[in-house]
């Protein structure tokens, strides 16, 4: 009986020792929420990272807008908050905004409404509601009420647009608020009188308006000639550590990641 007990004890011990490394080797899960502008880039980068690191981590991607991401990471609900806006003084403390890429914000109109160029005063007049008819916009081939599509307050694109294009001017209160880039894109694509602003990756099926005479293209964004550039961030609570640190390092330094970014966005280096 004693031998049987010893054997049983040894077997149980072996089982425990075998189980410990299995638990220790469990893949970490990196959860991110936030910017709808960053989400398409994040998903593509995650796909590349999984291939490069042989599925060393698990990813979970949520959205909601930049403010949601910043709030989520500050409260420890996610590992990374994706933000397409710069840090605000009102953001919770101890957040680290890790820049990952640059992005162009394009002014878009319906495909039949090609405008040669808009300067900052022109953008402010349209989005501020000073000009309400296309006949008042120099070079516009159409007339009729301008339908302004903007983003909701939680959006980083909204924040960046305000900062880069509008300055201290307020956006027209009659503007239609949309929850994502794609919604603005589809609204403008389906409305001959529509105007809005989106991330460069969302310009299919609409016309982009040159800003200060420079077209909103990837080439002009990369060269620095286009003025409507903002930064994408992966926000962490304190300095990134462990798997999250490796992931951010891959995004910011790995050549394969830079190649992914360069497809529709502007790499940092």
């Amino acid at each position: 009986v004693s031998n049987r007990l010893r054997r049983a004890a040894v077997l149980v011990s072996l089982a425990i020792f075998a189980a410990v490394p299995a638990v220790a080797q469990a893949k970490p899960t990196i959860t991110a929420s936030g910017s709808t502008s960053v989400a398409p880039l994040y998903a593509l980068l995650a796909k590349k990272y999984l291939k490069v690191c042989h599925h060393c981590v698990n990813f979970r991607l949520l959205q909601g807008g930049s403010d949601v991401g910043v709030s989520d990471v500050a409260h420890g609900r996610v590992s990374i908050g994706n933000s397409s806006r710069d840090p605000k003084p009102t953001d919770p403390g101890n957040l680290v905004f890790n820049p990952i890429a640059h992005d162009a914000i394009c002014i878009i109109t319906h495909k039949n409404n090609t405008i040669p160029s808009l300067d900052q005063a022109g953008v402010q007049a349209i989005f501020g509601g000073t000009i309400r008819d296309w006949s008042g916009v120099a070079g516009s081939p159409i007339s009729g009420t301008i339908d302004v599509d903007v983003r909701t307050a939680a959006s980083g694109t909204q924040d960046a647009f305000q900062k880069i294009f509008m300055g201290t001017n307020k956006i027209f209160t009659g503007a239609s608020q949309k929850a994502s880039n794609g919604l603005v894109q589809s609204a403008v694509a389906g409305d001959p009188n529509g105007v809005g602003y989106v991330s460069l990756a969302f310009t299919q099926g609409v016309t982009t308006v040159p800003y200060k005479g420079v077209p909103c293209t990837l080439r002009d964004a990369k060269s620095g000639a286009y003025g409507g550039i903002r930064t994408f961030y992966m926000v962490t609570l304190g300095p990134a550590q462990g798997a999250v640190k490796k992931w951010i390092k891959f995004v910011t330094h790995n050549k394969k990641a830079q190649k992914v970014i360069a497809t529709d966005w502007v790499p940092l280096h």
Binding site: T36, L50, H55, N181, G182, Q185
Partner: protein, 210 residues
């Protein structure tokens, strides 16, 4: 004996007719009674196609349409998905026009996941009946494995608004609808073709061994 056989046959026919009649009535009762109406009357159909722009051998485009307006949808796969497009952009009506205000934001696991969910963010309306949603996803490896029975299967469930017997609206989920498989012709990586060949040989050896 012949009379008896005829009699037995006639009796059997009567019994079969009776069973069929009873089953028909049983099936019709729930349809006729509003109180026992089905939870969701929506019907969706869709299929998969290779997406060479995303990834030649592993990227797929899924497209589907439904008979009713949908508020949200989920796609579930029998094999792991390592990518999905988080924002769906193209919603075409029958005339090929991009639908306005019809958009879904998608969320879920990347890499280890077997599916993802896409919801509508107000003021978006979801997708209207008869419109087509087009999205992208990819697998870590080519889905065109052999035998064909081992290829991944994908199902779609949608969330719709239905009315109860009093006409009061409620939100419910549909049954799963299987998406039609992508045609593998021209999308099997050469390495995999060779690999499958080896696999077959191994398989034969395995059987012989046993």
């Amino acid at each position: 004996v012949t009379k008896m056989r005829v009699g037995v046959r006639a009796h059997s026919r009567w019994r079969i007719a009776l069973v069929i009649g009873a089953l028909s009535v049983a099936c019709l009762i729930p349809l006729a009674s509003p109180g026992a109406a089905s939870a969701s009357t929506v019907v969706c159909g869709g299929r998969l196609k290779f997406d060479d722009n995303l990834a030649r051998f592993t990227g797929l485009i899924y497209r589907f349409k439904c008979t009713e307006n949908i508020l949200a949808f989920s796609i579930v796969s029998s094999k792991q998905i390592d990518f999905f497009n988080p924002e769906q952009l193209a919603y075409f009506d029958g005339a090929g026009t991009l639908g306005s205000g019809e958009l879904f934001s998608c969320e879920g696991p990347l890499g280890q996941g077997f599916g993802f969910g896409c919801d509508t963010r107000p003021p978006a309306l979801g997708m209207l009946a008869g419109h087509t949603l087009i999205g992208e996803l990819s697998f870590p490896e080519s889905p065109c494995v052999k035998p064909a029975s081992d290829r991944p299967h994908l199902w779609l469930t949608v969330t719709t608004t239905q009315n109860d017997v009093n006409g009061k609206p409620y939100t419910t989920s549909s049954q799963p609808f299987q998406l039609g498989g992508a045609k593998c012709k021209g999308h099997i990586p050469e390495a995999q073709q060779a690999g499958n060949g080896n696999g077959k040989r191994h398989g034969h050896r395995h059987h012989r061994h046993h």
